[in-house]
């Protein structure tokens, strides 16, 4: 119940704030931060609960973005349809990655997911219809209700963020999550208990992929432009993985905390210092957390709470 009150509150702020006369930059930067909330939350369903480290968020994000562009250019589809199409494509690719888990584990799985990024990028570079390597300029449609398209996109991504967190929470607290945690610890033992490991991994991969694909859908409209190099950028890997690691991977709240912290910090540093400094800060933060707080901010929080309650 507490969760749903929080979710309703977050939704109200996400949808309502862009209606108010607040500085446009807030939404411009906030959009990116919320994109990372969706990406990190989606990544954590597979990486955090099941322990399969996916280095391929840019591939999923990218396939979502390109699916949206194709739907827009081909049919003039509205944003909602673009997002649904992107989620479908991301989910389908996730299912494929799920089949990989049959044979690949640990570092080998991680490497295979990196390969998917390059395959996707190469495909898009060579596809004229979506602009190839030079990219494609997009004209934003008219927007109603909101004062600008960016404000509307902020509201949309806010809804997606709340939805993906709700999905991740459901997975975590259900028997799906319990089974995923079991196979993270020992896949063989889980199988021996009658946990349908392959089916659970497919569900996790598909869900994770669909959410990451959906996160990519509004990006081309946000930039009014799409181009392969920046769409399939490894920065999305670092952003999703980093947010989950810094926030804490064992709980749905971890990726939110991590993404908001990391995303805001990146935005602030990019504006105040430089884009290069921003990369350095993320790197240092990751090293510090992996060494000093492998359970993330959530883990630290729990430790402190545990101490005071004793």
């Amino acid at each position: 119940m507490k969760f749903w009150i929080g979710a309703a509150l977050a939704l109200a702020i996400g949808v309502g704030l862009p209606l108010l006369p607040v500085n446009e930059y807030v939404f411009y930067a906030g959009y990116v931060v919320l994109t990372y909330v969706v990406l990190a939350t989606a990544w954590n369903i597979l990486g955090g609960y099941a322990g399969y480290v996916n280095f391929g968020p840019p591939a999923f994000f990218g396939i979502g973005a390109y699916a949206a562009v194709v739907l827009f250019k081909w049919l003039g589809a509205p944003l909602g349809v673009q997002i649904a199409g992107a989620a479908f494509m991301g989910g389908a690719m996730g299912f494929g990655v799920g089949l990989l888990t049959l044979r690949l584990r640990g570092i080998f799985f991680a490497i295979a997911t990196v390969a998917i990024i390059f395959i996707m990028e190469t495909l898009m570079v060579n596809w004229r219809y979506v602009g190839g390597a030079t990219g494609l300029q997009l004209l934003r449609p008219q927007v109603e209700l909101y004062a600008s398209y960016t404000r509307m996109l902020f509201a949309v991504i806010a809804v997606m963020a709340v939805a993906s967190v709700a999905i991740a929470r459901y997975v975590q607290e259900s028997w799906i999550g319990r089974g995923l945690r079991a196979l993270r610890d020992s896949e063989e033992a889980a199988e021996g208990c009658g946990v349908p490991t392959l089916r659970l991994k497919l569900v996790a991969c598909t869900l994770s992929g669909a959410l990451m694909g959906a996160a990519g859908a509004p990006m081309p409209m946000y930039l009014s432009f799409i181009e392969p190099a920046s769409t399939f950028n490894l920065a999305y890997t670092i952003g999703s993985l980093g947010s989950a690691i810094i926030g804490g991977m064992s709980h749905w709240a971890g990726p939110i905390v991590g993404a908001i912290l990391l995303g805001s910090l990146q935005q602030i540093i990019t504006v105040t210092i430089s884009n290069e400094m921003n990369v350095l800060v993320v790197g240092v933060l990751l090293v510090v957390f992996v060494v000093a707080a492998p359970e993330g901010i959530l883990g630290l929080f729990r430790k402190v709470l545990g101490r005071t309650s004793k």
Partner: protein, 242 residues
């Protein structure tokens, strides 16, 4: 309720390596059969074949249940668990980063087991009081003996009729081995379990077994009742090394 397991002419292996050669074995209802043999002779492979985790290349594994015959060779592990078969794996194979209670809940993952979750959990805590005390502790932080108890309790969470126990003595002090075997004996007598137990420790195994089979290099070289096993010259030379 009639139950029996019939293994006939089983060949199995990993890639080019053959681990089992024409293994035949049968277990009747409420019987306890010990599968005896040292490391690397195919005991665990046989267990995994029964659980559907290793696919045999030849032979049959048939579970007769209330007059119905199920060919386990064609069923998935999940379906085999649903039929009432559970395994205590070698080396315990707990979920170390999950709590004791979550480990137990995973033993009842199947839908049919979830329906009786409360009852089975209570039963396990009654049979193993130490697990109740430690139910919020991480499984990996318990002692070896407690972990073995948890592994057995986890297998019982699905209320199995046929229990496979793979080397319960591995990595335990002699006194704990004895306790573990005694506990398995109590449980099987009280709940009428049928048990197939793989074990290296001959003297502990024959304490609870009705019959035993000696497996050497993937072949059953001798099968008989416990008293036959104790007297057999072949057993002494093959297994006891005298």
């Amino acid at each position: 309720m009639a139950l029996s397991l019939e293994i006939r002419g089983l060949d199995a292996g990993y890639g080019a390596v053959r681990a089992l050669h024409g293994v035949s074995l049968s277990i009747g209802e409420k019987e306890t059969v010990a599968l005896l043999g040292t490391n690397g002779n195919g005991k665990s492979t046989l267990m995994k074949c029964v659980m559907g985790m290793v696919r045999p290349s030849r032979g049959d594994i048939v579970l007769n249940l209330d007059g119905q015959a199920f060919d386990l060779k064609t069923l998935s592990t999940e379906a085999i668990v649903d039929l009432g078969v559970a395994m205590v794996p070698e080396g315990r194979r707990l979920f170390p980063r999950l709590t004791v209670e979550e480990n137990l809940l995973l033993g009842a993952y199947r839908r049919a087991s979830r329906r009786q979750l409360g009852r089975n959990l209570e039963f396990c805590y009654e049979a193993f009081p130490v697990l109740k005390e430690r139910r919020r502790q991480l499984a990996g932080s318990m002692s070896g003996g407690q972990q073995q108890m948890l592994a057995i309790a986890r297998a019982l969470m699905s209320a199995p009729k046929l229990l496979l126990v793979d080397e319960p003595s591995v990595g335990l002090a002699p006194i704990l081995v004895s306790h573990t075997i005694t506990k398995i004996k109590e449980l099987k007598e009280e709940y009428g379990l049928t048990v197939l137990m793989a074990e290296q420790n001959f003297h502990q195994a024959i304490r609870i077994a009705d019959r035993g089979s000696i497996i050497v290099h993937g072949e059953i070289v001798f099968s008989g009742t416990v008293s036959e096993l104790e007297k057999n010259e072949l057993v002494k030379s093959y297994y006891l090394g005298t």
